[in-house]
């Protein structure tokens, strides 16, 4: 269902198009409604709307954000191969619609926690690209001053970045408990993967969240593989949206940012109405392997990856929608791409050139709000200083 082209366009004889720099805002379609895939429902009478309204501003914002995450992750890949980033690095490219759709559907005052594939969420929750990349390169300008690394980045209302599979789920339910306790009408989005979905502590969290009606949105990002193990080989039931059993659930096309947004709006409304928790499964896909040490082609074919890229890429899908509805132009989007490239390049430059943390930092941040104390070094003669 498309809106008719802007009435202003029909004023131009022959429908000539102008160069983007002279193109005025009024030439583009201000908004359009798009049909979105209906969600599979579990214990729900009705689900999110099957139509999503997208304004031009929103479209550009989503495009910009998703493209930034994409480029940032690809830059991280590059830096890792140059051995400037070390250790664990779990990349998010392919899954951008999940992070963007969720952020579009909640408020900045809501809360979010995820596992280790966290760079995308770190960005959507407000941390600058340069602080993310500098954390990956282990520099003092990193969001955790170089002390956390890829899996331990934090921001306001964003609780990481968690390295232990599944542990973030009870934590998220606890954040939701705090929201309920404080009566602030906020919700906590608690993410985990298909690999984590079998963790016992997730079912413990489901139980308590349902019992106490916690405003917790449990979201399984199903990218079909827990490391190298496909969902068929790990799970007796791959209906992750039903695994909450007594908790209602919905299965969402995680490659469509509008689908994700409508679903999360629905879920957040549900939680804010005091109905308790809800489970969401986002069907998505990661282009990279599990981490940078996994080429990602021993358990799936290159053809499969390529097929998703050509037919289902979240950024391409949004771009296609906007262009075919005259909500933007190839030139405008290209300009945005160039801006993003510059942001990423500058951030990478910063991440490479920023100095490593000072050794004085080594023992800091053991305890909060405590007087300075001594920490034993590697041998009894080395006494190091620790401040809060």
């Amino acid at each position: 269902v498309q809106n008719p082209p802007s009435p202003l366009l029909s004023l131009w004889p022959g429908g000539t198009r102008m160069v983007v720099s002279a193109r005025s805002f009024a030439d583009f379609t201000p908004q359009a409604s798009f049909p979105i895939k209906k969600c599979d429902l579990h214990r729900l009478e009705e689900g999110p709307s099957d139509e999503a309204l997208l304004t031009r501003e929103q479209g550009l914002q989503y495009y910009r954000t998703m493209q930034t995450v994409r480029r940032m992750e690809l830059k991280a890949d590059q830096l890792y191969k140059q051995k400037i980033i070390r250790g664990f690095c779990h990349l998010y490219d392919g899954q951008e619609a999940c992070a963007m759709g969720i952020e579009a559907g909640i408020n900045p005052t809501d809360h979010l926690i995820t596992a280790y594939r966290a760079h995308g969420y770190t960005f959507t929750r407000g941390v600058a690209v340069r602080e993310i990349l500098a954390e990956l390169t282990g520099r003092r300008g990193g969001v955790a001053k170089g002390k956390g690394g890829s899996m331990h980045m934090y921001a306001k209302n964003f609780y990481g970045g968690n390295g232990i599979v599944g542990a973030q789920v009870p934590l998220g339910a606890g954040v939701a408990l705090a929201c309920q306790y404080q009566g602030n009408n906020q919700v906590c989005v608690t993410l985990y993967g298909d690999g984590a979905a079998n963790q016992g502590q997730i079912f413990e969290s489901f139980n308590m969240a349902a019992l106490w009606k916690l405003p917790c949105i449990f979201i399984c990002e199903n990218n079909k593989f827990g490391m190298g193990t496909s969902v068929e080989r790990s799970s007796a039931s791959t209906d992750y949206y039903k695994r909450g059993d007594y908790i209602p659930g919905l299965k969402v096309d995680g490659m469509d940012v509008l689908c994700v947004r409508e679903a999360i709006r629905f879920a957040a409304d549900y939680c804010r109405a005091g109905k308790g928790p809800i489970v969401m499964e986002l069907e998505t896909y990661r282009y990279h392997g599990h981490s940078m040490s996994d080429p990602g082609v021993s358990y799936r074919t290159r053809e499969e990856i390529q097929e998703v890229r050509t037919k289902n890429d979240p950024i391409s899908m949004l771009k296609e929608r906007m262009l075919s509805n005259n909500m933007s132009s190839v030139e405008e989007l290209k300009e945005i791409d160039l801006e993003i490239r510059k942001v990423i390049e500058d951030a990478a430059q910063y991440a490479i050139s920023d100095p490593e943390p000072s050794l004085d930092e080594l023992c800091n941040h053991i305890y909060a709000r405590d007087p300075p104390m001594e920490v034993r070094g590697t041998n009894p003669w080395v006494k190091l200083k620790s401040v809060s």
Binding site: A144, Y159, N207
Partner: protein, 359 residues
Amino acid sequence: MASLRSFLRSGKNAVSVVLRREFSETSPAAVQVNVRDALNQAMDEELERDERVFLLGEEVAQYDGAYKVSRGLWKKYGDKRIIDTPITEMGFAGIAVGAAFAGLRPICEFMTWNFSMQAIDQVINSAAKTYYMSAGFQTVPIVFRGPNGSSAGVAAQHSQCFAAWYGHCPGLKVVSPWNSEDARGLLKAAIRDDNPVVFLENEMMYGVPFELSEEMMHKDFVIPIGKAKVERQGTHITLVSHSRCVGFCLDAAAVLAKEGVECEVVNLRTIRPLDVDTIEASVMKTGNLVTVEGGWPQYGVGAEICARIMEGPAFNYLDAPAVRVTGVDIPMPYAKILEDHSVPQIKDIIFSVKKVLNM
């Protein structure tokens, strides 16, 4: 008998109470409070003081606590602040930590510390390390508490001491009170602390009464975490202990005093951060050291103390090697005669002191 023992233990405190009686017009409001009630009152006062504080755990609310430590709290504060959880330690410990992330101040009870092993990842990886990993961004103001160590006839799976395990980890504060003063002051301090605190109680101490002075009954009475207390002055040997074994050390000291051996008894109060300065000062004074703990010897609290003494200035003052008195290196047996011989007894302390002093 209990009151006589508690008088012996009070030592200095009893003396100061007597002095105050003589010099003040009104009688000081010293009261007999057992450890259970001390913990209960501490929680009650802190719940009242700060509405972000809440208690969760198995049977803490409507059952009044498995060991009645939270008696009356649910009746007073209701479902919102005193929460009964299902038997899912990993889940509710994680929920407690998440609530702490988001600005509340949870007290998470483990029915016994043995069950904390189900949740130990949340205590260590989610609570202890987060302030450091976030470079000071995310605080975790949580208290994990519950009975630790041996009880009576509860056998191997319910008798382990976790002081060494949790004491091993940076980012945690680990506290092990002995008497009611410790229980009250340290629990208040722990709840007010912005860091994750592991609070190791002892079930066999819950019913033991001690005298608490008026000052100790004040609602802002806190004992600093990280500071040991010299419970008894002595000159010949230092006994360092924590929790219930402090009482055994004082009993042993009373017996040894009759033979002319004056023991200095140091109550650690805090396992981590360890108050090495107080221990060293004592050892430098007495020249001899015996550590006493209920836990297993290998890689234990006593082992750490001995290592620190070796590495520090006090070593040069030792007249004999420092030794440890510990639980026997076995899983805890059930039969009473076996159980009695699995834990340090007063006679074991006396024996070790005499060996060290070459008597």
